[in-house]
């Protein structure tokens, strides 16, 4: 959640959702959003840590699915996109 000041200095709470894994164990964006190609500016440290943990588990599960199902270009590309986002999240968490 982001808290910003309005015109009258009132607090405006803007709700957003950090992507999470669903019941199948895969990382998903909320409805209306695609997988971010960069870390959203509004994500807090808690959000970053949550996204990091969820992405790690999702990637682990996707690699296991690839091992069982066999390599697929679409699945491999999805893993690549999640790994790219994870690297960005980890970089931001490290402060660099």
């Amino acid at each position: 959640m982001v808290v910003e000041k309005g015109k009258e200095n009132e607090q405006i709470k803007i709700l957003y959702m950090v992507p999470s894994r669903d019941q199948s164990g895969k990382f998903h964006s909320p409805k209306g959003e695609s997988l971010p190609d960069h870390v959203p500016d509004e994500w807090t440290r808690d959000d970053l840590e949550h996204a990091r943990d969820e992405l790690r588990e999702s990637i682990k599960r996707r690699n296991e699915v690839a091992a069982q199902k066999g390599e697929e270009a679409k699945h491999r590309d999805r893993i690549r996109r999640e790994e790219q986002l994870l690297r960005q999240v980890e970089k931001k968490l490290s402060g660099s």
């Binding site: 409805k31 209306g32 997988l35 682990k60 069982q68 270009a73 491999r76």
Partner: protein
């Protein structure tokens, strides 16, 4: 309120290219780009031509995208249910996740559970994965349905056992892993996986059982538990 952010022209071109060349070297990237368009609001009805394609490679792309939509793709449930019997194993594999997220009645849930007896080992693994991730309510719905329409099915025995206290007792699970019935051994390794966060010992034991499906599922569950 959600505003549509998808690019209609781009999405239509991706559908066309994936329909014409589902095995092109860029198909993996295109499938993910099309998934992103659906996530941004491209109407899900546009996935139906892929799901119903007679070309198994095109249906495979459609089923994979459906499996990546998460819960909000549920309007496609009637389209993916028949794909549990699709001749292409990867199509059957992909739609199992759709059933896990979207199915609301016992008939639908039990159709996925029955793929624990599929001719392809990868699909059997995925069906066991389904059983390990399903909620108790989902398992109960499947049991109630099967108990009514196929009361003598081994799945009724397996599901009833999986919902019993025995399925969370390490010694009972280890005993069930030695059952003479191969299908009931699958239920036993699923139980071992479901209880693994509390007690990993039955899963470790399952990894040594001389049943390839049980052993493979146990080893994959152990890999998923590791940090």
């Amino acid at each position: 309120m959600l505003t549509s952010k998808y690019n209609q022209d781009r999405a239509e071109k991706l559908v066309q290219r994936l329909t014409e060349q589902p095995q092109s070297s860029q198909a993996g990237v295109m499938a993910n780009d099309l998934l992103a368009e659906f996530q941004l609001g491209y109407p899900l009805e546009n996935l139906r031509p892929l799901l119903h394609s007679e070309n198994p490679d095109v249906a495979d792309v459609g089923a994979w995208i459906a499996s990546e939509l998460g819960t909000w793709g549920e309007q496609l449930l009637p389209d993916v249910l028949p794909l549990l019997r699709h001749p292409a194993k990867n199509v059957r594999f992909s739609v199992i996740d759709c059933i896990l997220l979207w199915a609301t009645d016992g008939a639908e849930l039990s159709a996925a559970i029955k793929l624990t007896e599929d001719s392809e080992s990868s699909v059997r693994w995925k069906a066991m994965d389904f059983l390990s991730l399903a909620t108790r309510d989902q398992l109960q719905l499947a049991l109630s349905y099967l108990d009514e329409v196929e009361p003598n099915s081994t799945h009724v025995r397996g599901l009833r056992w999986l919902l019993s206290w025995d399925a969370s007792d390490a010694n009972a699970v280890k005993a069930a892993l030695q059952n003479e019935n191969a299908l009931l051994r699958k239920y036993a390794v699923v139980a071992a996986s479901r209880m693994a966060k509390a007690d990993r010992e039955p899963l470790s034991y399952a990894a040594s059982v001389k049943d390839p499906d049980v052993q493979n599922f146990a080893k994959s569950s152990i890999r998923l538990l590791k940090d």
